[in-house]
Symmetry: C2
Subunit: 442 residues, 2 copies
């Protein structure tokens, strides 16, 4: 190290001192030697912004750090080079980041909700000020998928990306699958283990995954896909029965965030923007896929790209140290004086995404319903499908369960529109004894 002139430390203001903030402080201390070897600098936490300065904390404050409840103590301090935002929430986080960028500071954040819902203005502000705005930890925790899309896959046209982006719902589905638990029991268990919040809406209704997917779409395609335009379906109330039937066909049910380009011809997407299908939904994943093997709170992302082919990334999607490690990587990029490459695109005004309406998406489907154990029912249901151009690939009729016979089938590829019309017609014709449940097959 002798030949290197020692550079002045990178001075950091840390906003938020919860699990991840505490983890980051620990890592900065524990890995100090490594940080110095890798960047030639020290990282010093000068100030820590908290809501309540008198609360007792699990992690001791970083040595020499000053506690404050005033955001401007960070943004107005001319010695602070970079502000790390780990407070969460929208309004205060946006104000802090905006003000930090305005004052010429670099910013590192893990705030997926903010970047998904209101990121546009922040990316523009960062570009205007020539500052770094990094957010590796905001998607899939320790899994470096932000970096992969911005840098490693930069020369690839991304054809599709699908991921297990929410650890809580994946934990619930894994427990339902491995231990045959009901949804409510598995959710309660996740809450007891600290994997799910008291109000689990963000996680189990797919909104957290949708936040992350919004960021991934921007990184993969360089377009602004409004978060509110995403089609989002969660796993609330998903039935143990469907997990079991899916298994019999060789599939696992996973909560998937997916985007893919839909090309009308070979040239589309090459010189212009492709149309995108994007959404979050429970889907059947064949057991031979690596995605089907993702258990517990793990996250994973599979990218299909025109040069790389299929790439698969797997790791911890949450937790104090995994998330803090991703934040620290971003900080070290700032310490190395990397040039801003915030969105992964040179242009600042990213165009609006061309959105394929979800009714038009093409997919194979799994369908479960209850029918009467009567001659002709299967024929009539197949007829409803055929009338919409849907062909049935496999069908299982189960033993009579008292109130009817569970009928499970899988279709060849069709549109969401055709699927819902066909099932509606079957229902209207009195063929189904309860509302059908249907999921896409990946």
């Amino acid at each position: 190290m002798s030949e290197n002139t020692v550079r002045r430390p990178l001075i950091m203001g840390l906003a938020g001192f919860g699990t991840v903030g505490g983890g980051l402080a620990r890592l900065v201390e524990e890995n100090a030697h490594l940080i110095r070897r890798r960047t030639g600098r020290d990282i010093v936490i000068k100030k820590v912004l908290v809501r309540n300065a008198t609360k007792t904390r699990q992690t001791p404050l970083p040595q020499g750090a000053e506690l404050t409840t005033d955001p401007s103590a960070l943004t107005d301090d001319p010695t602070i080079d970079v502000v790390v935002e780990l407070m969460g929430g929208i309004d205060k986080a946006r104000e802090l980041i905006d003000s930090a960028l305005e004052k010429g500071k670099h910013v590192v954040t893990a705030n997926k909700a903010l970047l998904a819902e209101e990121g546009l203005a922040l990316f523009q502000k960062a570009a205007q000020k020539g500052r770094i705005l990094r957010y590796e930890a905001s998607v899939a925790g320790a899994v470096p998928v932000v970096e992969a899309l911005k840098e490693s896959l930069a020369g690839n046209r991304v054809q599709s990306l699908m991921g297990i982006l929410n650890g809580t719902s994946n934990y619930i589905l894994s427990e339902m699958t491995s231990n045959g638990l009901d949804f409510d029991i598995a959710l309660k268990q996740a809450q007891e283990k600290g994997y799910a919040e008291a109000d689990p809406t963000l996680d189990i209704d797919g909104f957290d995954a949708a936040h992350k997917l919004t960021l991934l779409i921007r990184l993969a395609y360089g377009v602004h896909y409004p978060y509110t335009a995403l089609s989002v379906q969660g796993i609330r109330g998903l039935s143990r029965q469907d997990i079991r039937f899916a298994r019999e066909f060789g599939y696992r049910i996973k909560l998937i965030g997916q985007v893919r380009e839909v090309l009308r011809d070979d040239n589309e997407g090459k010189d212009s923007l492709a149309r995108l299908e994007a959404g979050v939904f429970p889907a059947l994943v064949h057991h031979t896929y690596l995605l089907a093997r993702v258990g517990g709170v793990y996250n994973a992302v599979r990218v299909n790209a025109n040069a790389a082919g299929a790439l698969f990334f797997h790791g911890q999607g949450a937790g104090d140290l995994p998330t803090a490690g991703a934040v620290l990587a971003d900080l070290m990029a700032v310490a190395r004086d990397e040039r801003p490459n915030n969105t992964g695109f040179a242009e600042n005004d990213l165009p609006q995404a061309l959105i394929v309406p979800s009714e038009e998406w093409r997919s194979c489907y799994y369908v479960r319903t209850m029918v009467e154990d009567a001659p002709g029912v299967l024929r009539d249901i197949s007829g409803c499908m055929a009338a919409e151009g849907i062909s049935v690939a496999q069908m299982i009729q189960k033993a009579d369960e008292g109130q009817g016979v569970p009928l499970v089938f899988m279709t060849h590829e069709t549109t969401a529109q055709a699927m819902s019309t066909a099932l509606q017609k079957a229902e209207d014709a009195g063929l189904l004894k309860e509302a059908p449940v249907y999921y896409r097959i990946l």
Copy 2:
């Protein structure tokens, strides 16, 4: 894109126009729009260096590119910003890269052998000249593990890294496993499919994986681990029988490149260099591990790190477009004027690795041998193990196969030294009817 001033193109000299070089030319053309959107620049291939200018080529030369057989046409051209070395081999590639750096050009290469065997001087030259030397494609093709170690995991202490780094040998092992082929047949099939060279030594004897491992060790630990100091064992002549027996225990046999830090106490490795175990060897991988699921010519890397925990990367390790895509990502980093971060460490003189001799490595073992079907043999063999402090975890004795009884067992953790001593003693005592075969268990 309107608000960005269009920057002048990045001018490239391409050395080597084989599979990967041709793939790169195709990609640069096909993804031109994307390259411009992402970097704000065009990439132009100005000159192509080949050995034989009159040979007919599968891929047409890039439009406007000039063919040359003279390396100095690339390195002496003041308009060329970056030289891409895809010739392979050691001496000529080293001369070209050295000369390009000397003349102030950036360099992108996929040459693992060169960087493993003689990279030190090139990294020093690049540092001295302040130039970028990038090599994402040199390890695991499209799998962005170089970038992951240099940037995404920069804030992590890497505890271990293990990978399937050679697609050819993985293809052979996969075929032996799935289709029960003998090694020789599987090798021949790999050669017919173009996955293996006529002389398959580099691939099947572990040297190619060892080249890649050398680079990964440098990236993960910032040390110089001489390639020649690596313990390397390939898969040549690996028996179908062992694959079958391993399967019965729930394992797959994979050719693994591994490095891990060995800590004498909690503080070692924190403020100083850790001692490293590193080598390439066939190993038993439990079927529940993602690594066990890596089939065919795919590559995969698993990293354990002190913040991230376990990360797993999977993708195509070779092939024209996957490799070219990784080269293009490096080129685009050059086009973005990224600062050199060639080794991932600020210091230029990387220290020598502290090497744990392979006899001291601790591991569980799989052992197969032939014994006489006589009373007391098992007791005597167990005795040889026990005398070296090795305890046997599981043992299967097979039916008599004519020349004796195959005896297969797995041990608890022990050293390589103890294992070889115990087996030598059993052989000396006349307990074994043929030389034992033994492999590590991951």
